[in-house]
Amino acid sequence: MNPILSVEGVTAGYGRVTVLHDISLEAGRFGNVGLFGPNGHGKTTLLRAISGLLQPKSGRILFDGQDIAGHSARAIVGAGLIHVPQGNRLFPDLSIADCMALGAYSPRARPHEAENREKVIKLFPKLAERWRQRVRTLSGGERQMVSIGTALMSHPRLLILDEPTLGLAPKIKDELCASVMDISRGGVPLIVVEQDIEFLLELTQQLYLVNHGAVATEIKPGESLDHGEIMSMYFGH
């Protein structure tokens, strides 16, 4: 299977600060991909470069064979690469209904709006109960559901989740993990950034340890790892 996304030698950063140093990785060849590693080492920056929020300084980002490096976020959303950013800040004063309508904003997603809305409601029945409520009045877990639901409304061909369980209670984490698993089984490949390694091991088949703005270690399927080994990667040998 060809990778749906391949990042080839991308360098990116903010102003004069370079965060990503010639980073390369692939997603979609072996199923879902997990990214982990210490904070402040470029995971979020990588996602921002992939989704067009940040223009990479050099390198190629191939999505389904097309180089999307430097394209606008709108064009990338239009191609079906959907990024759920960290921290579920979203649109605090819009209702859930509004967020779902916005998710279906791109011309590619518009014809699938009704069908995707049903999928979201099936996946997160709680949202239907609060359909007209403002996002700011929801709990952290519900806001994360809205974030992911909005992304599903965009009819993703590849879904990128940045720390979806950040700040959530363990029980809600488990529920969310099950929902994300459902999305994956529905045929949408995932890239997930997560600090919770258990969550990643359950959800993904291929792992990258991102350290100092580059891939430090790649873990392919079959090369299973135990928790202790990952911890030692995190904290050095």
Binding site: L53, V77, H83, P85, L90, F91, D93, L94, L102, G103
Partner: protein
């Protein structure tokens, strides 16, 4: 009885003009997060373009809508030239105050060069006068009092009932998230400016049919609109609308009881008091957003 009628009528009329101005300021602030100091010049330019078109022989019913549409283009161009290039820079709020003030000054002096300093007037929306509750009023003013709420209601419907309006409200709340659902953020910024300029231009046309026009006719309404948005809170568009009418009534009452001379001082008293007691504005919620 006639005192009350006079204050009520004056308040509604002034409030209408202020609301049209203040809504545009609030729209630009909530979506882009900048304050547009060329807003008063939009008002002047709308009136002058309408005057020019009428002068060329077009009937008012054709000239006025054309002027409003042209103003949308002017707003878009101004945004693209002196606001958009600065987005993402540090101190953008202050920098845009300076660039829009500069652009406004250039346009104002351009108007002075092109059209000259002599006062002009454009046709009233409806000619003639009538008497209500013992107060003589022009039909033009009544037309403004009736039309303004309709336009503001239409704007509200646009923002709250259409997908494009939803996109504008969304980008006002979270620009990055707007990018990530595929919104054309640059175009939405342009749209916010275009709508604001159109409304200001229309306010100018309203005013030009009632008072004499001059190239500096926009500066006083801009100042009043500033008081309105500080008083009502600039973080929504409904706040400034209510505030505009309140300030309109306040101004009308002040000029009735204390005279025109004291009115500006009293208005600024309200401004200072608001800034001291409730700096976010009396109708403001804590966050930025259009509703």
């Amino acid at each position: 009885m006639s005192a009350l009628a006079e204050i009520l009528f004056g308040g509604l009329f002034q409030g209408s003009l202020y609301a049209m101005m203040a809504v545009g300021l609030a729209l630009v602030w909530t979506t882009i997060g900048v304050f547009n100091f060329s807003h008063g010049v939009f008002m002047m330019l709308g009136a002058y373009i309408a005057w020019q078109l009428v002068e060329l022989g077009l009937p008012a019913a054709v000239a006025f809508p054309i002027a409003v549409v042209v103003m949308a283009g002017v707003g878009w161009i101004l945004q693209a030239s002196v606001v958009r290039p600065l987005i993402g820079r540090p101190n953008i709020v202050l920098v845009v105050v300076i660039t829009t003030l500069a652009a406004g000054s250039l346009i104002e002096n351009g108007a002075l060069t092109v059209w000259g300093p002599r006062s002009k007037q454009i046709p009233a929306l409806i000619a003639g006068n009538t008497t209500i509750g013992g107060v003589g009023v022009s039909l033009h003013q009544i037309a403004i009092i009736v039309i303004t709420p309709l336009i503001l209601a239409a704007l509200w419907m646009f923002l709250n009932r259409t997908r494009l309006g939803l996109a504008l409200r969304a980008v006002a709340q979270n620009e990055d998230a707007g990018h990530l659902v595929g919104l054309n953020v640059t175009a939405l910024y342009g749209l916010a400016f275009a709508i604001a300029a159109s409304l200001a231009g229309l306010a100018g046309i309203f005013m030009g049919g009632y008072r004499f026009m001059s190239p500096v006719m926009g500066s006083d309404p801009l100042l009043k609109a500033l008081i309105v948005v500080v008083f009502g809170g600039i973080s929504s568009i409904s706040g400034p609308i209510f505030a505009a009418y309140l300030i309109g009534f306040f101004e009308a009452a002040c000029s009735y009881y204390f005279g025109l001379y004291w009115t500006p001082a009293l208005l600024f008293g309200v401004l200072i008091l608001t800034l001291m007691v409730r700096p976010e504005g009396i109708f403001a919620s804590r966050s930025r957003g259009l509703a």
